[in-house]
């Protein structure tokens, strides 16, 4: 079956143990206001332009005949600095597995990240079925039905799951969804014997409050907990997608 990927990064030193290739699956049910991979939110292809470095030669705005360029009204095949890119590539599961296995000799494992990899659970399960001998890791928001969650978690070696906000109302406010499913899935992680790391991004004024961190610590019990600093560079990508960034709106 097919899946959609927005990036593939090699040597993700923070995405799992050893030498890892990280697959960023495109599309996410959450819309965290601070999201540092906004191109991972939509499930469809989109255009990203690094306008900051643009020298305004105008070449990409001239009419072209490539069908895939037409929706964007910009040519993807001409920028002299490669600033105009389509983000989102569809793969057959076997095709993606082959791409990963190209580096078989050096690879220790693969990490599925996103976006939300569980939103394309059947696809990643098929990819995993071709990756015998590699360690499989997942980075997830935990937002998936219990059934889907268990199905995938049972096939992976290391789990990195976010718990962003303990309070349900705030969770809805800042991520667009309730944390009910996430907390149910957290219970499952606590009940199994698996290498689990819970991560909380420290977003100033939103998740980094003392109440929130204390409440999260209580929820996760004995699971390992990592606090991640806010990514200061996140705003750049919003410009490239021509989307508003919450920090800048707050300033206005």
């Amino acid at each position: 079956m097919k899946g959609i990927v927005f990036d593939i990064k090699e040597l993700g030193v923070h995405d799992g143990p050893g030498l890892i290739t990280t697959i960023f699956m495109k599309g996410c049910p959450l819309k965290c206001v601070w999201c540092h991979n906004p191109e991972g939110q939509s499930f469809t292809k989109e255009i990203m332009v690094r306008e900051n470095s643009c020298r305004h030669c105008g070449l990409c705005k001239k009419e072209c005949s490539h069908p895939e360029c037409q929706p964007y009204k910009r040519c993807l095949y001409v920028c002299p600095d490669n600033l105009v890119k389509e983000v989102g590539k569809e793969y057959e599961a076997k095709e993606l597995a082959d791409y990963i296995l190209k580096n078989r000799k050096v690879l220790d494992g693969v990490t599925f990240s996103g976006g939300e990899p569980l939103s394309q659970a059947d696809f990643i399960l098929e990819v995993i079925s071709y990756l015998d001998g590699l360690k499989i890791n997942i980075e997830t928001s935990g937002y998936a039905s219990n059934e889907v969650f268990r199905k995938v978690i049972d096939r992976v070696d290391n789990v990195y799951m976010d718990i962003k906000l303990a309070d349900e109302k705030k969770h809805v406010e800042y991520t667009g969804v309730s944390n009910k499913l996430i907390l149910e899935n957290l219970e499952y992680l606590k009940s199994i014997d698996k290498n689990v790391t819970i991560r909380t991004p420290l977003i100033k004024g939103i998740t980094d409050t003392k109440e929130n961190i204390t409440a999260i610590k209580e929820l996760i019990g004995n699971l390992r907990h990592e606090l991640l600093p806010e990514n200061d560079m996140a705003g750049v990508k919003y410009h490239m997608l021509n989307k508003p960034y919450f920090r800048e709106n707050a300033d206005e």
Binding site: L11, V13, H14, L19, L59, Y77, V78, N103, L107
Partner: protein, 659 residues
């Protein structure tokens, strides 16, 4: 670290104020009609006699230059005459060699020169006279132990670890004064450890004190390096080798190895340039230790792979007992201490130029890619031959002290091989890939269209530029087409050159280093078929193109695809990682494991640099804020703000890998 010394020599650079300038000597020597050796010895005696002893309070490894120049032994006319008869390499003086430090430490200069020539004895006595002056100065300052040590070395054998370090410093100092340059410091942990081991076992020194001496020795190599520039300041070849097998195949990793890594990390200076030999059995912990040093951002250590290098050298005719002792010359060229007088950087082949010639002369008439490739192979051979031809009748100025500190039997070196760099291999590979793919496989670009676009620097064909530059396989991404083209270039160059003899009775050695040619050779050609525009620099050494995507894991497999034993003149895979990649111990371990994989896969040499683009850009704007910001250039590290802008810009333009 001795903070006072650091303040004086490194931060305040006060030693500069004490320097005087020596007089011209060449006209006098010419008038007297002196032989070359007599000129060299006289100049050495003269310069050593001008040197004044200077010892700071608490300084235990003294010797600092108080004469800032080395006047020429020949007049300009005489040089021109020589050049008519001979090929003169660089400045004409010897470089990129490694003396036999072990014998100096064991015997001392007096015993060594006992049966030597008068010239040698005069050099030794010039060294000892200066040592005597330092001894007197030490006595004057009531520095009894220092005075005693200076009474012993370098005249007599080093009796302990401290005297060994002091002796090394004096030898290093004296060789620079003699006028040779880029002289390696050899297998430092191998020859030094026996002294430390003995002192420790006899309870004569503590490990901490031993570390302080070593730290000060390292610092001492930075007192004068501003007057020892090569192409750029920092290019001085004070390279030091750690680790590696011994003759019995046992891996060396001792307390001196560890202290050397620690001292480099503590001092954060450009000298000595740290190299380490590893092999497929080197444990992961050693890579972790080395990666901690990499993280500091000095461009150290550089790794060499014993499995590949020793084997490669033996294939070139080096005996095992010699090959196993290899070190690196100034940058990365593999040399044998004591016995070899190889000239490892005598010429350089430009792969982009080869492809450019074939693009214009052979593409139109080549009906298949195989045909085109055979033209490329012929062109490589032709240019290689031309490079070899110009080096005939090479003459080096005799360097009496250096020559005698080698370990030649009957005064003759055992090896007199020449090394040729292979420059721009990624641009060459990517150009071949572009031609193979678009002209012969997909046939979506015509030959005429490609030649025209290259000649017009892609001005009138931005679509083709985009296609070739960004949408065609590039070396480093582990695509079969690019891997095969890389292998083709390595094989064509290595297999041909390694079988050519030079006119001194030695052989030629092919390499993957670039030295400064990555800028120089980019100027000689226009745009290239990989979408490189006219004037854009080539990548340094054995690295991927400046505009290729960096995929670090793919890159390991791609770059180790060819048999690198064929290009064992040296030249590392050079990689830039952003400093943020190393932000925790787990990440440091992972990067260490990454290096280990490269070695296991048969990589020959690796140069891993930690960079921070934002910091470099800020340093260009505000140099005063970054006097000690260090970057790696092509085979050496330098203070960023002291470099010419073209070299600064190149480091900034290299793609850093960032997560």
């Amino acid at each position: 670290m001795n903070k006072k010394l650091f303040q004086y020599y490194i931060l305040d650079k006060k030693q500069k104020e004490r320097r005087i300038i020596a007089d011209e000597v060449s006209f006098e020597y010419a008038e007297l009609g002196l032989t070359e050796e007599e000129r060299m010895v006289r100049r050495f005696e003269y310069l050593m006699s001008l040197e004044e002893p200077f010892i700071l309070e608490g300084e235990e490894i003294p010797f600092v230059r108080t004469v800032s120049n080395t006047p020429e032994i020949y007049t300009e006319d005489e040089w021109n005459e020589l050049k008519k008869k001979h090929y003169i390499h660089e400045s004409g003086y010897k470089s990129n060699l490694c003396p036999d430090y072990e014998k100096v430490l064991k015997k001392g200069l007096l015993e060594l020169s006992e049966n030597g020539s008068d010239a040698y004895k005069r050099c030794v006595s010039a060294v000892l006279s200066l040592a005597r002056k330092y001894e007197e100065e030490a006595k004057r300052q009531n520095r009894v132990e220092l005075a005693l040590a200076l009474h012993q070395v370098p005249a007599y054998p080093a009796r302990n670890y401290y005297e060994a370090l002091l002796c090394l410093r004096i030898i290093n100092f004296s060789l620079w004064v003699e006028g040779s340059y880029q002289i390696s410091l050899g297998r430092f942990d191998k020859y030094l450890y026996p002294y430390l081991k003995k002192d420790l076992s006899e309870g004569k020194i503590t490990e901490e004190k031993a570390y302080e001496f070593l730290n000060e020795f390292f610092l001492s190599l930075n007192k004068d390096n501003d007057i020892y520039p090569g192409v750029q300041p920092g290019d001085n070849g004070q390279s030091l080798m750690l680790g590696g097998k011994d003759k019995e195949g046992k891996y060396i990793f001792n307390k001196v190895t560890k202290m050397s890594l620690r001292a480099s990390e503590d001092l954060k200076l450009i000298d000595p340039k740290i190299n380490i030999r590893v092999d497929r059995n080197t444990p992961e912990e050693i890579y972790t230790l080395c990666t901690r040093l990499t993280k500091v951002g000095l461009g150290f250590p550089q790794y060499s792979n014993d499995d590949v290098v020793i084997d490669g050298l033996m294939k070139l005719g080096y005996e095992y007992d010699d090959a196993v002792e290899y070190v690196v010359a100034a940058c990365w060229e593999f040399i044998i201490p004591g016995v070899a007088e190889d000239v490892v950087n005598i010429q350089a082949l430009s792969f982009p130029k080869v492809i450019d010639e074939c693009l214009h002369n052979d593409l139109l008439k080549s009906e298949t890619y195989e045909e085109f490739k055979s033209c490329v192979r012929k062109e490589i051979e032709k240019e290689t031959d031309e490079n070899c031809e110009v080096t005939k009748n090479l003459h080096f100025v005799v360097c009496t002290l250096l020559d005698n500190l080698m370990n030649y039997s009957d005064g003759k070196p055992k090896y007199v091989n020449y090394g040729m760099h292979g420059v721009g291999i990624s641009t060459g590979t990517d150009s071949l890939t572009a031609i193979e793919k678009h002209i012969y496989k997909d046939k979506d670009v015509t030959k005429e269209e490609l030649i025209k676009a290259v000649d017009e620097d892609y001005q009138n064909n931005p679509e083709l530029l985009h296609l070739l530059r960004y949408r065609t396989e590039k070396l480093g991404n582990n695509d079969a087409i690019a891997n095969e083209n890389l292998k083709f270039l390595v094989d064509s160059f290595g297999e041909y050159l390694n079988n050519i003899q030079n006119d001194k009775g030695g052989i030629w050695r092919a390499g993957t280093g670039s030295a400064m040619y990555y800028l120089w050779y980019a100027e000689g050609i226009g745009a290239s078929p990989d979408g490189r525009r006219k004037g854009e620099p080539l990548a340094t050494n054995y690295s991927v193109s400046l505009f290729a995507d960096i995929n670090p894991l793919s890159l390991l497999e791609a770059m180790t695809y060819p048999d690198l034993r064929k290009v064992i003149n040296g030249g590392p895979l050079t990689l830039e990682f952003h400093s943020s990649l190393f932000n925790d111990e787990e990440a440091v371990k992972t990067v260490g494991r990454y290096v280990k994989k490269f070695i296991e896969l048969g990589g020959h040499q690796l140069q891993l640099n930690t960079v921070n683009k934002e910091r470099m850009l800020d340093a260009q704007a505000h140099p005063e804020k970054y006097p000690l910001l260090i970057v790696r250039i092509w085979g050496w590290s330098a203070y960023f703000v002291e470099l010419e802008k073209a070299y600064q810009d190149h480091v900034i333009a290299r793609q850093e890998y960032i997560i």
